[in-house]
């Protein structure tokens, strides 16, 4: 009896082993014969010898992500154009994406291609020797390379090696405001910090929420409001100097002033009372219902505003940036933003896989893709993209105008490593609920600078 069972188990496992052996060659033989008709019609010489290439791709363009519909459409085009590429595509919601990816990295099992964030995360991965650069790809495609706005490549460049190209740009600090409410209380859009305070107190007095805000996920206050407030006080070089330990520190008075101003507007009642229990999507309701005069959010909110804001409100929505601060060292004309995420290549991939992934990177960022960004209301990362104003939504046009007028400066959570980001996010939340003082937060940050 026992022997019979063992025999049976062995026999079954043998079956699997054989299946494993025969699987690959069979599929390699099959595919060319399956697809020739398509290839002849679509592609020239490059695919004369279509070799089956398989690679895994992890990205976070899924669910409510702004790029989800774009990615879906573009990936199906990609599959159509390159039928010899077999892509194992894993879509992971943004909140879990970094955790999953970094856990995988710790285990030494990164996928072949994956989305990385610019600046701090790219530096982390590149210096740990996990990424293959795309310098030669850029050399080979000068036209593609030169189309980009500089930050779309620069922010993925470490020590002269570029690792990815951003799928558009993310502006993080757009003030969406309801012009009708400003008019109703005889206010004009603030041009200085004093005016901003005046606007806030006027709205509070009249029972209007000055700024709709939801900080439950901890990053929105830092990314959408504080990054730019800090820049207004400190200027753009300062943060680089702090991180490079180049004569500047988080405990410098200008940074503390920025934190104090943030504390001050919170105490004035700038935000809805339940900002701590709402997330950055729920907060938009206050603005859409006309209960809040302003909302500070990133360009990722634009599709949502276009889709969900009521028509009568939409006509009154204007886009602007935070005013300059009197006495601040920052340029009052800049706004905060970064390159969007991009696809990077695992160092361990084979040359064929690398070529395939490079095709994908180009395909997702070339001029045709840039046109599609515009269709999906994503800010483009090419310099010259003509936007069809008759088709585009007025709010998207306002967004592109805003971007063209104001140069971008970095966002804190993009420039800081994960530890400092955690401290600044928690610190700002602590200041908002009165549990921490600006000096304490500044000290904690400085203590963690390495």
């Amino acid at each position: 009896m026992k022997k019979q069972i063992i025999c049976a188990i062995l026999a079954i496992s043998l079956l699997f082993a054989f299946a494993g052996c025969s699987g690959k060659p069979a599929s390699q033989e099959n595919t060319p014969s399956q697809t020739p008709s398509r290839e002849e019609t679509t592609t020239p010489a490059a695919q004369a010898v279509p070799e089956k290439v398989k690679f895994s791709l992890w990205h976070s363009y899924v669910g409510t992500d702004q790029r989800a519909p774009f990615m879906e459409a573009r990936m199906s085009q990609f599959r159509e154009q390159y039928p010899n590429y077999e892509i194992d595509e894993q879509k992971i919601p943004r909140d879990q994406y970094q955790t999953k990816l970094k856990t995988q990295a710790a285990a030494g099992q990164l996928p072949d291609a994956f989305v990385v964030w610019p600046n701090a995360m790219t530096i982390e991965f590149a210096t740990s020797n996990l990424l293959a650069d795309i310098n030669d790809l850029l050399e080979r495609n000068p036209e593609w390379r030169d189309g980009f706005v500089s930050r779309a490549l620069d922010e993925f460049t470490v020590d002269g090696k570029t690792y990815s190209a951003g799928l558009g740009v993310s502006v993080t600090s757009i003030v969406f405001y309801n012009k009708a409410l400003f008019d109703k209380y005889n206010l004009s859009y603030p041009q200085s910090y004093e005016e901003l305070k005046n606007v806030i107190t006027t709205f509070v007095k009249n029972g209007v929420i000055p700024i709709a805000h939801g900080n439950k996920p901890k990053w929105p206050a830092q990314s959408t409001i504080f990054s730019l407030m800090a820049n207004r006080e400190t200027g753009s070089e300062w943060l680089d100097n702090v991180l490079a330990k180049n004569g500047a520190q988080f405990t410098d008075p200008e940074f503390i002033r920025a934190l104090e101003k943030f504390e001050e507007i919170t105490k004035l009642g700038a935000f809805n009372k339940d900002f701590i229990s709402l997330d950055n999507v729920q907060m938009r309701d206050y603005f859409y219902k006309g209960q809040a005069a302003m909302m500070i959010d990133g360009s990722w909110a634009v599709p949502d505003v276009i889709a969900k804001a009521p028509e009568d409100l939409k006509a009154n929505i204007e886009l602007d940036i935070l005013p300059g601060f009197e006495g601040g060292k920052g340029d009052p004309n800049v706004m905060s933003g970064v390159s969007a995420t991009g696809i990077a290549i695992n160092k361990k991939v084979s040359p064929q896989q690398k070529a395939a992934i490079e095709d994908l990177i180009v395909f997702l960022t070339n001029s045709e893709a840039q046109q599609m960004y515009a269709e999906y209301n994503i800010p483009v990362s090419y310099k010259n993209v003509t936007i069809d104003k008759s088709k585009a939504d007025p709010i998207y046009i306002k967004l592109t105008e805003l971007i063209s007028k104001h140069p971008l400066v970095t966002v804190y959570d993009s420039a800081l490593n994960s530890e400092l980001t955690e401290i600044v996010n928690n610190g700002i939340q602590g200041i908002m609920v009165g549990k921490q003082t600006p000096e304490e937060v500044a000290k904690q940050l400085q203590a963690a600078v390495k």
């Binding site: 970094q98 955790t99 970094k102 990295a105 439950k216 901890k218 009372k273 339940d274 701590i276």
Partner: protein, 293 residues
Amino acid sequence: MELISRNRKYIFIGLFPAVALYIIFVIYPIVRSFFYGFYEWNGLGEPIYIGLKNFQDILKDNIFWLSFKNNIFVVVASILGQIPLGLFLAIVLNSKLKGAGFFRSVLFIPMILSTVVVGLLWSTLLNYQMGVVNYILQSLGLEKLALDWLGNPDIAMYTVCAVIIWQFFSLYMIIFLAALQNIPNDILEAANIDGANELRKFFSITLPMLWPTVMTAVVLCISGSMRSFDLVYVMTQGGPANATELMATYMYNKTFSVYKYGYGSAVSLVIFVISFGLILISQSLMRKKNSDR
């Protein structure tokens, strides 16, 4: 005993697969993660050996000690909340109440729900703006009591504890119910004949006979609360401003959102030592109580 020694070989063979799996998938990773506690590692590059620095940092880490304090608070709240509540309901259900079976099932529901469901359920109910709890309070004219239950750092910890108690009291209720049914009826009948009232019977008969069960429940309660993580993670993620941070959520944050694997491992080692110490203390207390009698 002789039987055991005679069959030692077979016992070993029989246990081997389970023990091997346990060692590979439980013991080894635990020991391994303790080693990481002596390294600085972000998960990407090579780990750097830094000796006891992580542990020194933990001693100075205010947020860790805040989370420790919160954890002890959860332990105390669970012991003082879940056990008396469970005991009380068990006694009520054990009396010949009509529909006891129905109430028993209903009261047991929180226990069988997944923690994530419970967390989301209560986050919605307790929502400051749209939550049912505040709606009821407002319609009763108690606007002042309609608080931002999970958003106010001064009360969030109490709210979280209340939800923890709500979810787990029924476990203790069932344990006590089973123990109550083991109390022989003749003792209670004898007490009846002696003219003891209900209160007297409870303190002189029921409670002493339940005492070993109560102590078991306390140990369960301590170990359960020390490792509580999921409810807090779903409801507040340790926020606002670390007000509801527990040791486990702190360890998770340090490891998986700040990517300090070394530091996270060191924190988990400290949690291990603290929990182990608490369990040892409670067990030695229990043994003392047992030998007293």
